[in-house]
């Protein structure tokens, strides 16, 4: 199975790990991430005004390319996923945006939201299956207590993203179980890490991350995993005695025994 893949700018630079380990793991699991050509930055933020079109076009281009290849579009970064999935929803359901975007793009055939947008975790859950993943694990992370950190972008708005129950998600916990470790459920796993505010309001972001770290530690987590480079950055800047934070793909690669391949890429 081949998927169109949208890495996003951060995965090309600071979050190279997230990308490399994902590709290595995908290979081990028998599917391929085919990077789409000439992708552009998604903008990091779903456009704030419902009247904006220009800021949605890069997502539409990526979506249309996947459509032409007849493949679902896979993302890894929470922000890219959030933006692209919501733009796709607009293209599918909001007539005004669809018309204006298509008028601008002048595609050979108008894009109507046909592409299926999947987060890498959704591929694992819905396409590969966590049971299948479990079978492929060669180095189970037995005994490791891992807290899933979801953040906001993957979950909310729940109705549009349809990713998981936004108040009580289970997908990363199921993932943790599949790689042989023990999930630690703690209440702040879907609270905001501070997001973009950490650029100018560093203390605010630190406070938020402290709460998250304290909560996860209180419930006995040894480490946190996340899918978002910004969450990882913010959590690493928390002031309290912090837990190590990893990308979920790194642990996946480790469990599948392909961590070295991932590093070599």
């Amino acid at each position: 199975m081949k998927y169109s893949y949208y890495p996003g700018c951060t995965l090309r630079t600071k979050a190279k790990d997230l990308d490399d380990y994902a590709r290595a793991s995908a290979k081990a699991l028998g599917f391929e991430l085919e990077e789409i050509e000439n992708w552009q930055c998604c903008g990091g933020v779903y456009p704030l005004g419902s009247d904006e079109i220009a800021t949605k076009l890069s997502s539409v281009r990526a979506l249309n390319e996947a459509k032409e290849k007849g493949q679902p579009l896979v993302t890894l970064c929470s922000a890219c996923h959030h933006v692209i999935k919501r733009v796709n929803d607009d293209m599918k359901n909001v007539e005004d945006i669809r018309t204006r975007a298509n008028n601008y793009m002048q595609l050979s055939e108008p894009y109507m939201g046909e592409t299926e947008v999947l987060h890498f975790l959704e591929v694992l859950r819905d396409k590969v299956g966590f049971d299948k993943l479990k079978e492929k694990v060669v180095n189970p992370l037995t005994g490791v207590k891992i807290g899933a950190y979801y953040g906001c972008l993957l979950l909310r708005p729940g109705k549009l993203l349809q990713f998981d129950n936004p108040e009580n998600p289970t997908i990363i916990e199921d993932f943790i179980r599949a790689i042989g470790a023990e999930p630690v459920v703690y209440p702040y796993r879907n609270e905001c890490c501070g997001g973009y505010i950490s650029l100018k309001e560093k203390d605010m972001a630190k406070n938020m991350c402290d709460k998250i770290m304290d909560s996860a530690k209180g419930f006995g987590a040894d480490m946190l995993i996340t899918a978002c480079p910004l969450c990882l950055y913010n959590l690493n800047n928390s002031t309290t005695d912090k837990l190590p934070v990893y990308y979920f793909t790194e642990l996946l690669a480790e469990a599948l025994g392909v961590k070295e391949e991932g590093k070599d890429q």
């Binding site: 933020v45 997001g195 973009y196 505010i197």
Partner: protein
């Protein structure tokens, strides 16, 4: 139409939210992780827009304290979308008044080793035209 009313109308249009749906339960403010940092609280935002009291709103520091984490939007029982109202008000400020909250000159000072591109991109999108 006074300009304040006009602005309130624009905020409603940009956000696609209807402040009249609000039943003043305060769930947005109960959910907000930035509540203590804000001078105008999320539930007040809604009534400020409903009442057309825009001047106070656009000068509020709350515009830059909202995390856009959508906790309020997710939990609002009346589908009012307070986060989108705040986003729209911020847009109004940067679009109309050219008051960017972040300038390129500031950037080098704010950078550090691990800072991901995503952060810069997001902040630019939110703070600037």
């Amino acid at each position: 139409m006074s300009s304040e009313k006009n602005c309130a109308q624009q905020i409603k249009e940009i956000s696609g939210a209807d402040p009249l749906k609000c039943m003043k339960c305060g769930k947005c403010s109960a959910s907000c992780p930035s509540f203590n940092e804000m001078d105008i609280k999320p539930h007040q935002f809604v009534s400020y827009v409903a009442n057309g009291d825009i001047e106070a709103l656009v000068n509020s520091k709350s515009l830059y304290k909202c995390l856009s984490c959508f906790a309020c939007l997710e939990r609002c029982p009346r589908d009012v979308k307070p986060a989108k109202l705040i986003d729209a008000a911020r847009q109004l400020v940067v679009r109309q008044r050219g008051k960017d909250y972040l300038t390129a000159d500031e950037i080098p000072e704010l950078l550090d080793e691990g800072l991901p591109q995503q952060l810069l991109v997001s902040a630019f999108r939110r703070y600037r035209r």
